[in-house]
Amino acid sequence: MTFLFYMLSAIMIISALLVVFSTNPINSVIYLIICFIAMAGHYILLNAQFLAVVHIIVYTGAIMVLFLFVIMLLNLNKAIIPQKSQLTRISAVVTGGLFFLVVLAATRQTFEIHPRYPFTGDIGLVKEVGKALFHEFLLPFEMSSVLFISAMVGAVMFGKKDN
């Protein structure tokens, strides 16, 4: 169990780093898909099967395919864009590292967490999540459809050719 966790974590972090450092966008997308699949594994490990399935469908199946489509349609698969300057890249890495340290330090100092409810293993099942979604969060769920419509309209607006 612990081994599985570390395994998945290692895959995630390595692929995430490769997403950042690979020069070809296509490769980035592939590594990101790997990263997301590893994350789905994490969800299953956390006993959130519903989320794991939705994650695979939405991210890997829809969003990343959309990325791939755009890259291929716009013919961006070559590393035509020059990298940022050396200084900027180093400072970006330093900033990321600093951020990691600082946030970690923050969580270490301030958090003292105890479970709120007695442990049950089935909160991540479709039944439990569905109950919560359609009882407490029914209104936000319906509102999300409005968000989608507006996003769709916006996407069409932007994607339309100017006359």
Partner: protein, 590 residues
Amino acid sequence: MVLLSFVFTAVLFFSLRSSGSVSATVTLFNWISIGGMNIPFAFLIDHLSLTMMLIITGVGALIHIYSIGYMHDDERVNSFFAQMNLFTFSMLLLVMGANYLVLFIGWEGVGLCSYLLIGFWFKNPAFNYAARKAFVMNRIGDLGFILGIILIFFTFKTVTFSEVFTQASTLSSGTTAITLITLFLLIGALGKSAQIPLFTWLPDAMAGPTPVSALIHAATMVTAGIYMIARSSILYNLAPITLNIIIIIGSATAIMAAITGLKQNDIKKVLAYSTVSQLGYMFIALGLGAYSTAVFHLTTHAFFKALLFLGAGSVIHAMSGEQDIRKMGGLRKKMPLTYFTFLAATLAISGIPPFSGFFSKDLILNQAFEHSILIYILALAGALLTCFYMFRLLYLVFFGDQRLDGAHPHESPGVMTIPLMILAVLSVFGGFLNIPSLFGGNSNFSTFLQTAVFSKTTEGLSMTTEIVLTLVPLSLISLVILFAYRTFVKKAVIPASDEASMSWIGKIIFNKFYFDEIYIFAFEKPFGFLSGFLFHKVENTVLDPAVDGIGKATSRLGSLIRKLQQGNMSFYLFAMVAGILLFIVFILIV
């Protein structure tokens, strides 16, 4: 319009009279209400303000009618009447205000109108200078007035007349606060009513059109100071020091202006100095605590001095703008109406019974005699001098031969002479308003004012003294008239031209005691030097670079900051992350 308001005032007068009430206060709205300060915009109508309103609207209406004839061919006749009406409005505001602040609005309003009307013919730079001088002199007085109002507020926590007076009557006489207040108010009155040392603007103010001189600088505005002191009579009664100062200033002004008037050759200048001198009389009366007498003299003076000015205007009109009396003469035949009205006014101002000036002047002289012989002698001398220069003016203008070739004097049209005649009637009979008990009267006017102003009680003189006091000036005045007649009619002496050499006393008098020159030396030169110094040294070397430096620093800072705003998205991202980092670190540390 002014006529209409006169009718309204008259109606008001009789209604107040018949109702028997003492005063009425009309509060329009609460004007200023800050913290403990509460100043309503209110009008107070009592016997004093009613008297003033009657003078302002009555004399004002006559002068307006006169102006129709006098100004009819001026191109800016519309703005002339607009300004005259604004003046009347401000003056009414001044006398009707129920507190010092409303009074002050009117006070400033008449000052402004005076400035506008003196400089009415603004194309002449000398007239503009005169207007400016009047304004500046008035401002000096106004400053004193403002200080007085502030002090009143500090002392009594209110500026409403009735409340101030109620509180003041509980104070003891000679308190420092009261003395200061009265002194400051006095400075305001000095400026407005053209007394030493702030009188030099009034003769120069004659640059304005003659109706303006009649309305503003003889009948109404210059009397605002008198009105204000009479209004504050309770305060002044409590400040004997101020009263003494008023007497000194009043008598000095009366004498000095009268002496100066002897040597003037401009018809309006003579009248201006005569106004200053008569105002000095009123101040003497005020200083003696005889407020109602002062207001009475104010009333009669308004009649005969307005008449004199209007008559002078008629003469100037006839002489096509000539104002030098040496060039006039023999106008008696050509302008009989003007002559007779002018004569009536001259007799009135000289104090010949039964003309109005006799009663008011006699009252003042009597009260001066009661106070001290010295003031009496000064006032009497002033009266004699007044008499002399007025008759000199009269003889030079209307008697003798015509001295200006090519002029065709003619009588003024009816629209100008009718107001003259009405005023003449008033000048002749105005004095009967207040016949002293000596002549079987009952001092109606003083009794009428009793409720509004609080004159000091006098012991009253014995009958014989009063008779002597009446006869002595009369005989002296007759002598003076005779002397003037001999000099200017029999011998036909014409004053020397400006260039002729004269004795040093004559020079001093001719140059108006060098007051203007003293002022220029004492105030203008140092101020000119100071402003020059400030401009060259302080302005150019300190202030200008400082102000420029602020501008330069801002633009430099702007160009510095502009480098941050290049629209470079990755830079923005870095900045954002750095901000977040700093924020978290800040939370961790604190």
